[in-house]
Every structure is written in C-alpha cells, then in structure tokens.
Point group: C2
Chain length 478, copies 2
C-alpha cells in the first residue's frame, strides 16, 4: 500500500534540521505537492482547507470594518506599472511578463500582478470624484506572482494566494487610522485564531514597501527563533494619488488628493502555523482553524456496534468539525495519520469503551489522554478545544517572550544574534548604513520599530555609537 508507506516513514527531527522538518511536514501532512511549474506549489485539500478557514474568518473581520470585496484584472500594462517611480523600481525586477496573446505578439507587454496598487489607482482615478465617494474600502482575494529565485512551500513561491486591501481616504489622518486598524486586525486574528502572538511595529525606510510612506508589520517568531513577517499594512500618503491623479472635490468644491493605504496577508500564514505549533509528530493545528477538529477512531471496528457507536458520537458532536475514520487501516495507523495532520482531538471508541459508556479523548498538542463519559462528550470536547486553543497561544507567547534579548553594545549584539535565535532589541541611530552593516555582518535585518512604548536600552546606536533615535527589533528572518 503505497499510501501507507508514505506515512510511516519518519519525518526529520525538528531540532536536527528545522528546514527539512518543515518541508517534511508540508509534504507528509499532505498540505502541498510540488508541481512541474518551477517555483509554484500545489495546495492539496488539507492545505487548502486551512486557507479556506483563514479566509472566511479574516474576510468577516474585514467586512465588520466596512471593507467590500472586488476583483481586478490579473494583468498590469507596463506603462501603468511605471507610473509610480519607487513602486516600479521595487517590483519590475521580479515580475513575469506576458508578451504574446493568442497568436499575436502584444503591442505593450503586460506583467502578471505582483500586487495591485497601480490597478486600484487607475480605477480610483475614475471612481472618485467627490468627497461623497470617500472612503473607498476595497479588498480582493487573489493570487499574485513574484519571480523568486529560491522558493519554499508557503513561505516564498513564485505564485501565492493572498488578500490585498486598498483604501482611499479624504484625509491623511483617516488613512493613518485605517493603516493601524488593519494592522491591529491582523494582530488580533493571528493571536485569537491562529494562536500566534506577534510584535507590532513599523518598518525602517530600508525595509518598507516600494512606494509607501510608512509600512507597519506584525512579526512572529518561529520555533527555531527566526522571525516571520506575517502581515503588513502600508500608508501611502498621497504619493500614489499624485502619480495617478486621484483627486476629489471637497465640501468647499476644492480639488484635493486622496490618501491611500494597502494591506495584505498571504498563504505564508500557513507556514507560520506549521513553524510555531508543529512538533516531531507533525502538524499541530489550533482548534479554531483546524478543518477537522475531532477525529473519531473506532477500535476493532468490525465488532458489532462499534462503527454505529462511532457514527452516533459523530452526530453528538455535530457542533464541531468532526469525522469518523472508518477506513480499513489499523487504529495505530490512524493515530499516526491524525497526529501528522494536526487534528486537535482524537476520540477512540472500542467494545470495552462501549461497555463502560466511555471513550478516550487524546489531545494532539500534549498527547494527554482522558477517559470521558459518552453522555458528556460534547461538552467535554467544547471545553477541551477552547482550552487547547488558549494553551497553544500561551505556549507560543512564552516562547516568543523567552526569545527576546537585549544588546547595548555591538559585541553583545553579534554574540546574541549568532548564539541565541530570537529577536534582539537594540538601539539604532536611524541611519541605513548601520542596517546594511548588520545585514552584511550577521545576515540579520531590522524587523520593526515596536509600536508599544518600550524602555530604551541605551542612548547610542548599537552599531555606530552615534546618538540613538529608535529601539529596533532585529533578527534573522524567513
């Protein structure tokens, strides 16, 4: 049985080779398959179901803030991409170009969208005339293409799925408020729903989005101590509006430029779930996002009444996303498979359990086993899923907090970056030269200037010794 063979092979130990462990989980938990299209992956049902849950929840949160969904073309004419100078410089080197349509060469080549600021601007310049047309709070769910040289499932691929919100406002203040609102939406979504705590902050100019005035980020810490930028929210000021001529007449009938934002998260979040919560037995899914929250595994399922009882329990648990594994694999096999796929709770039920009126519930994250009276299963499962969600967040938060270090001088800074995976907080003069040196010396980048007030570590830049302007979280990142 080829299929079973695939599963019993062990996955690489997470502490021995984290990168290989990650890839193993992606493949063995059947989240992805590699495709014949270089740098593009196939998202398989188990992976896509996670994306569907993420999308549904996040979309509802967006809509609760007044956002509406639209769909823009996937192509951008070259002349349109070039309208905003910084933006084209940032993206042109990494886009895919369509040069032929049908049997004819195109008069103007089209890039496959790497992001859609230029399309939204082109649209807004016609849609927005009056202050009555504002704000525009549009979002789209789609795929985008960036011609990356090295790729990894979910983390970096030539095509990926994402959402991109694009808003236009009458005032700079409103745009700034929206930028921060969406950052907070991402942060609370990651914490509440994916059990991933984040540091909220602002990117330095070197790290900000091409064309943005300010980029805000939510930075998460993976199990191996590397940072992952989990979502970004950009304030464009009126830069794009000036480049594209997006003006509205205000209440006094004067023409004004709009102020814009954009914000996005991607299938990367699935990578974050794997790398924050997974273990040596495979994926561990937070209950809220898990496509299957409870798997019922019948024991001695050919014995009379066992399957029937399993189905009965399933019906009892209809308030949850529940399945019965009634395939002809062995129970041990089914246990391994459940674990690899990260199903939060496994319920075992066999002839002895039925006699005793109980079943055994096993938690994926702790491997803890509990015997539960069948009559109380539904309420137990509800509580246990909530508890697991909470404890997963607590553990992840503890991991994050215990991997934030401080450094006041460059020697300590280098030593910490090299020896202690995690974030290193250090002061910075505001000069890009120091960021460049740190990157060259240590392969570490400025992750963000935290939004929360944090006590300063010293008065001088950790790198050059000049007076410090900001406290920065530094780290190696995905």
């Amino acid at each position: 049985m080829a299929d079973q063979k695939k599963m019993v092979e062990h996955i690489t130990d997470r502490e021995v080779d984290f990168a290989q462990w990650y890839t193993d989980v992606c493949v063995k938990a059947e989240l992805i398959a590699y495709s014949s299209v270089k740098g593009c992956m196939i998202i398989k049902p188990a992976g896509y179901a996670i994306w569907e849950n993420l999308q549904k929840e996040l979309d509802a949160r967006f809509k609760a803030t007044g956002v509406e969904n639209v769909y823009m073309p996937m192509f951008i004419p070259e002349s349109l991409l070039q309208k905003e100078k910084d933006h084209v410089e940032g993206f042109a080197p990494e886009v895919a170009w369509v040069t032929q349509g049908g049997l004819e060469p195109l008069q103007e080549r089209l890039c496959v969208r790497p992001t859609s600021e230029t399309l939204f601007c082109d649209f807004y310049k016609d849609e927005i005339q009056s202050h009555r047309d504002l704000p525009k709070l549009y979002n789209q769910w789609c795929s985008v293409v960036r011609w990356e040289k090295t790729t990894r499932p979910f983390l970096r691929s030539r095509e990926f799925l994402w959402q991109e919100g694009h808003t236009a406002h009458a005032t700079a203040q409103e745009a700034e408020e929206r930028t921060v609102l969406m950052l907070n939406t991402y942060a609370s979504f990651l914490e509440d729903y994916l059990a991933i705590p984040v540091i909220k902050g602002r990117k330095t100019d070197k790290e900000k989005f091409a064309g943005a005035e300010a980029t805000y980020t939510v930075e998460a810490l993976m199990h191996d101590g590397k940072a992952l930028q989990a979502g970004t929210s950009h304030n464009f000021g009126d830069g794009f509006a000036r480049a594209f001529g997006i003006q509205y007449s205000d209440k006094d009938n004067k023409l004004q430029y709009v102020h814009q934002t954009s914000w996005g998260v991607t299938t990367r979040m699935i990578g974050a779930i794997i790398m924050v919560h997974g273990d040596n037995r495979g994926l561990v899914l937070p209950p809220r996002v898990a496509p299957t929250q409870v798997m019922i595994v019948p024991i001695q399922q050919r014995r009379e009444g066992v399957l029937e009882k399993a189905y009965e329990l399933r019906d009892q648990l209809s308030g949850f996303r529940v399945k019965v594994d009634d395939t002809d694999k062995s129970p041990g096999w089914k246990f391994n498979e459940c674990e690899m796929r990260g199903v939060p709770l496994r319920v075992e039920v066999g002839p002895k359990d039925i006699e005793a009126g109980t079943c055994v519930v096993v938690r994926r994250d702790t491997a803890e086993k509990k015997t539960v009276a069948m009559a109380e299963l539904a309420s137990f499962v509800g509580e246990e899923l909530e508890l697991m969600q909470q404890e997963m967040l607590d553990r992840a938060r503890k991991h994050l907090q215990s991997h934030i270090y401080e450094a006041a001088d460059y020697e300590t800074f280098c030593k910490t970056i090299n020896e202690k995976p995690g974030f290193v907080k250090a002061m910075w003069c505001g000069d890009q030269a120091c960021e460049d040196k740190i990157k060259a010396d240590l392969a570490a980048t400025s992750r963000c200037i935290p939004l929360a007030d944090e006590e300063k570590i010293s008065d001088v830049c950790v790198c050059c010794g000049k007076p410090a302007k900001k406290l920065v979280y530094w780290g190696r990142a995905y």
Copy 2:
C-alpha cells in the same frame, strides 16, 4: 453631484437595443467597471457580492457530493499543454504566453491557464497509484485567461472567474455518473438559487470540449431569446489518462488507466441573471442570491423618530440581508437606486407609517406595494422573498417554454430561427456538415441533444433530409 447624475440618466430600452441595455445595467447597477487592461473588466462590490453568494452556495453543494478544494499553479509549461493533442489544438490559439520572468527570458514559455486539465493530469499521475487513491474529487476556484477578440462584461472576457472540478475514477461508469451528477448539480443550482430554468443536454462532437469524450451542458434562454451555455460537464474517458500515463493498480494488482471528468461554471452566470430577470428599471435579483434582500428607505428622515424606527425595523429583520439607506439623497432617488441594483424588497417608513404602526413594502419584480403592520414585518418579508423567488422562476420557465419551437423542414427551420428568437427543436442526421451549413446560413448552433426523452419531430434531418439520428435544440447563442 457626479454620482447622482450617473444614476438618473435613463438606461436603454430593453426591447429597443438589448445589447446596449445589458451593458447599461452592468455599469449603472455598478456591477463592473472597464479597466485599462483591454478585454478585462473590474468586478465592483455589487457584482462581486453576487459572485460570493453564488460561490458559497455552489461550493457547499459540491462539498456535499464529496468534492474537496485545491489550488494549482496559474501557469502551464508549453510542453505540458501539448501532451493531449485535441486539447492543445483547442486552446493554444487563445492563450496568453509568459516569456520572461524577472530580468531573464524563460527557457520554456508558460501559458496562463485557460483551463487546468493538463495540470491536474500531471498532478494525478503522481498522486494516484492504487485503487485506494480513487476517486479523486478535486475542484478549484480561480481565474483563467482566454485571449478573446471581442469581449462583453461577464459573458466573454479575457480573464474570468470560475470553478473547475477535475475528478479521476476507477471505472468508466463512475466517471459518467460523476459527469451527470455535476450537470444535475448545476441545473438544480440554477433553478433553485438563480431562478433560471435550463435545458440539460449533450453537446454534439463539433461543440464538445477539446479533448473530451462527451460534453454535457445546461442551456438557458435569455430574455431576448438567445441561448446561453450556463455550465458544462465533460467526461474524458481515459484519453487524458493515456496521454499523461495516469494509472492505478486495481484489486488484482493490474495496472489500469483512470477515467476522468471536468466541469465548470463561471461569472457568466451573473450575465445570465441580468439577461433572464432584468427589466427597464435595471437589475432584478432573485432573493436567494441578492447581497441585499431588503432595503429600508426612511421618508422624511430628519423628522424625529424616523431613522430610529428604520434601524429598529432593520434589527427586526436581522434574519435577512437588510440595510437602511440613511444617506442624504432624496427618497425618490433612493427608490431608483434600489431598483437599478435589483434589491428584491424595499421597505418605506415615514412619520405617517409610524403613526399607523405600518410600513410599505414594494416588490422589485412586480412593483406591487403592500401596507404591512410593523409587528408582522419579519414574517411578511420571509414569505414575500420566498414567493418572489418562486414567481421569478415560474416566469422564467414560462418564457423558456413559450420560446421553444419545432421545425420539420428546412424552410420552417430557417423562418423560425430568423423570426422567432428562442430554441428550435429539429431532427439531425448526426453529420457535422449539416451543423456547419446551419451555422453558415443562420448563425445558429446546435445547443444540445436533450437528456430528457422527447418525442421525435420527423424521421429525417431538418437540413439534409437523410435519416435522423437525434433531436437537437438549435439556437443563436451568446
């Protein structure tokens, strides 16, 4: 007020110029905007919300039959597209080609998927080894590109949104059953949810999908009597499996080729909703698919208590998709806007209504006004929406049935096609030459060979007079 000006312009009369009326509705009901990308449209919030509702309902119906969602790359390497001979001949002339990635020309050019049979086959050849791996019932929601020369919103555009299901089965019979199951899923969805009755049938060889053994179709009739292919379901037999080498070992350990199907519907369905149900005041949305089912319009909204009552009624109607139009436009303006956008029910509430404890409910399709006691509004709205859905289907069915004609000889056939928009049933010898002649003479095509048993009209082909093999629905089509 630029925005208001856009709305008060009249739309073209539907009986005078149906094509222009259609475009007017697409634009004035704010379903789409034209983009700077030739042949590609922008789907605006009012249009995309319809797509979201369609998608949610259809996706649930797919999943109820065991279908799982996946995501495949948007690019197809040229060599992969070429593996199935008929398929590449059908699609290669109308695809967009990516020839450059980043700053480098590609070694092998990639087409932007026009459909993904080749990608799914390439995937299945690795995924499917044993009979235990079957069936595979995968679907994806995505956009595809076909380099059309003439385009129309929703009906034909260079990029469009759709779903494409791709299944693999152990036996020919199972594949055929799945093909028909999905056709029936489309038919009942169109009827129940979109109030669009259809003719289910099989395409002739001339009209079938490139590479399919059999193509089934659901054909709908628009208000102007032209046919619209609203969805198709294809049985590939083992043709693709042989071209791609997709084999499984059966229970006796013998290698067998799989049998495959694919099936899809697109944003075209939104075009069908417009053209089946719309009228000279704009869009008319069937209640089940309408993003806003009830719009509450306050009259004299500055008078004390009016807006409060409007919000109170909204809360009372929380079981429906309901909104209050509390903008500062005039009530007459709001009525027109509601009508243009196809909102099924409008509820008017003003000081006199409040005094009387009633409100006025107006149905979009019939313009019928009813005075309803506020205390009974929720139950009235529930019943009225159901009734409207049913009556819309009944009217559409009556329109369909009254536009199906028969012709036993070529003269009658030509006269009917030319003078009576609709379907013309006529006998056919099975020879493509007759289809070609009919297309050349009349710009009409064979729409389908109906699945339902229908009494034959004569013994000979309506075109050539040779013995007839099949009864065919003919018509002019979108």
